[in-house]
């Protein structure tokens, strides 16, 4: 931890930002000065003030409280999406890499199929087919992300298979499953971690994008993308309704991008130029 912080001055700032976002996700709704959902029409579209730091929206709801509470939705979705995508992808990729042959060919063509669609286009098509809500958004984004992890895991497993310690384990009669569990996962983990931390930001961004399109979170949820969509009518008259949710979203994505970059440099400097 301290070595990570010493490596770059930016890492401290990044970690601070990530902690703030995680705290907001954990305690945001409790710590918020107002209810994120309670309407007060007498108080609508108020500019930022001492009472309402980020102003109020068209239903008179406190934007600061909504922005703070929105962190939970974003982090929750990212956790579920990456939980599914990483488990499914790693499993499929590892099986393809270990077994090779026709199993590998079939599984890799399947991943190619999912990768043949632009990410948001596929996510919105799946979202539209399943129906507009946050659960379906999570499913749609998991379907977009698993092929990347399958490819990553397959490549790693294939490279590790050639290494002496794996060959030795195999010569000792260990099964593929235990080689994978005992020897390979530990070696794949750092690379997975870097990828996950980079993807948290993008999943948050895509979740908001889908909500913005009307597919994800539904009103009155305090979701950042949905808040941005609601603010479109007030860009000129009440720009604060658009400014703060966007800023929160940008900072969250930025924080996890920087964390991913920092972790990559920390865990393996050689990885630096491999993926941009």
């Amino acid at each position: 931890m301290s070595r990570f912080l010493r490596q770059s001055r930016l890492n401290g700032l990044t970690l601070g930002l990530v902690v703030v976002i995680l705290l907001a996700a954990l305690l945001g709704e409790v710590a918020a000065p107002h209810s994120p959902r309670k309407q007060n029409l007498a108080n609508r579209l108020q500019p930022p003030s001492a009472e309402h730091w980020f102003g109020t929206d068209d239903y008179g709801r406190d934007i600061f409280s909504r922005v703070l509470s929105g962190a939970r939705i974003s982090i929750q979705v990212a956790a579920v999406v990456l939980g599914i995508a990483v488990t499914l992808g790693t499993l499929i990729g590892a099986v393809a890499g270990l077994l090779g042959g026709w199993v590998d060919a079939v599984l890799m063509r399947l991943t190619d199929l999912f990768l043949a669609f632009p990410a948001l286009v596929l996510a919105s098509a799946i979202g539209a087919a399943l129906g507009s809500n946050l659960t379906n958004t999570m499913l749609a984004l998991s379907m977009v992300y698993w092929p990347w992890y399958a490819r990553l895991a397959r490549g790693q497993v294939m490279a590790l298979s050639q290494r002496d310690f794996v060959q030795a384990a195999r010569a000792l009669g260990m099964s593929d499953a235990s080689i994978l569990r005992r020897h390979m996962l530990r070696n794949i983990l750092p690379i997975l971690l870097v990828q996950i931390s980079l993807d948290v930001g993008y999943v948050i961004l895509y979740t908001s994008a889908l909500s913005f399109l009307g597919l994800g979170a539904q009103r009155p949820e305090p979701e950042w993308g949905l808040m941005l969509n609601d603010s479109r009518r007030f860009v000129q008259t009440a720009p604060w309704t658009m400014f703060y949710p966007g800023l929160a979203l940008t900072l969250a994505v930025l924080a996890f991008n920087l964390l991913g970059d920092g972790l990559r440099d920390y865990l393996d400097p050689r990885l630096r130029s491999q993926r941009a």
Partner: protein, 336 residues
């Protein structure tokens, strides 16, 4: 050898396209809402819904429906859009040129900004310029395009009154005679300079907003690739021969560093398409993104799946094209 390589890639492309058609079909048929009921409205009787189901090709077994669907696709029939009541293909033909024009403009801006920033960032590594370049690229990747579009609209239109509020041309400005469907190109070809200026003025904000994320990717890849090349022996030799750093960077390094950038060009088309879904509706750019955003809201699944199919096809074709170009540039890859 080359013909064989191109042929192999083409066959691969056809296989992926066939798979894409299965995928969009599956997505269209797992729709939980009953599309026939949806269009007919809640008050229509069961008989009317059944008649509509038959007319839309939603009756019969899944295999029958798929055969009908593929037969339609091969004839260029993507079904009827429920919201516009026009054939989806006709709608796509109407809206695609606007998106293509926007995407190409954004790609040009990304290359014009991303490559020089990436090259300079690597050439002066760890200088303030490098830090600025890296910060910009990380920020570019983190900024939500729909937020940038809203901020751009606020600043450009409402606050500074410098930019138009949306659309491809000002009201009352007749579009140029259609040759390519690209207003900028068509008005230049027709010699209508006032229309050209107006089209460029309208294109400016959407293209810039759309290019943000892609500029960031180009900066990153170019910088990483340049740093890699600059570490090679032949660069040291060139320096040792007495060539200036400037000449070495521009003549020797850049040429070799740009090949990896080519490989990711196809992927960027996907990023731009995803972006067009988001910003076209905000900036009222009458393209496929706006059409798709409306179709998504209206649960217009024929239109949604038609757009998905067309965009995936373009994306796959773009990647195959890049693949072939790269293979022609580097013979080692043809065997792969």
């Amino acid at each position: 050898m080359i013909a064989q390589f191109v042929l192999r890639r083409l066959l691969g492309l056809l296989a992926v396209l066939a798979a894409i058609s299965v995928m969009t079909f599956v997505l269209a048929r797992v729709v939980p809402k009953d599309p026939a009921r949806l269009i007919a409205g809640p008050r229509a009787n069961q008989q009317a819904v059944e008649a509509l189901r038959e007319r839309l090709g939603l009756n019969g077994t899944i295999v029958e429906q798929y055969v009908r669907y593929i037969g339609g696709l091969l004839r260029g029939d993507l079904g009827l859009s429920f919201s516009t009541k026009r054939p989806v293909l006709q709608d796509i033909r109407t809206f695609l040129p606007a998106t293509a024009e926007l995407t190409i403009a954004a790609l040009l801006i990304s290359l014009l900004l991303g490559l020089p920033i990436g090259i300079a960032s690597a050439a002066w590594k760890d200088s303030p310029l490098d830090y600025a370049g890296r910060f910009l690229s990380t920020l570019g990747l983190s900024l939500p395009p729909f937020w940038v579009a809203l901020v751009g609209q606020l600043a450009g239109y409402y606050l500074l009154s410098l930019l138009p509020v949306g659309g491809r041309l000002s009201q009352g400005m007749p579009p140029p005679p259609t040759l390519t469907g690209f207003y900028v190109l068509d008005s230049a070809l027709a010699g209508r300079w006032a229309t050209l200026a107006d089209a460029l003025w309208h294109l400016l904000l959407p293209a810039f907003v759309l290019s943000f994320g892609v500029v960031a990717v180009f900066v990153r890849i170019t910088r990483a690739s340049m740093l890699d090349v600059l570490g090679h022996d032949y660069i040291r030799v060139a320096r040792a021969k007495g060539l200036t750093y400037r000449v070495v960077v521009l003549r020797h390094a850049v040429r070799n560093a740009l090949t990896p950038v080519l490989t990711i060009l196809g992927l960027q088309v996907g990023l731009l398409m995803s972006g067009s879904f988001l910003i076209e509706s905000i900036l009222q750019w009458p393209g496929l993104g706006l059409y798709a955003a409306n179709a998504l809201l209206a649960a217009d699944y024929n239109a949604t799946m038609g757009v998905t199919l067309v965009l995936a096809t373009i994306y796959t074709a773009a990647n195959a094209l890049v693949d072939v170009a790269y293979g022609l540039a580097d013979p080692r890859l043809r065997a792969a």
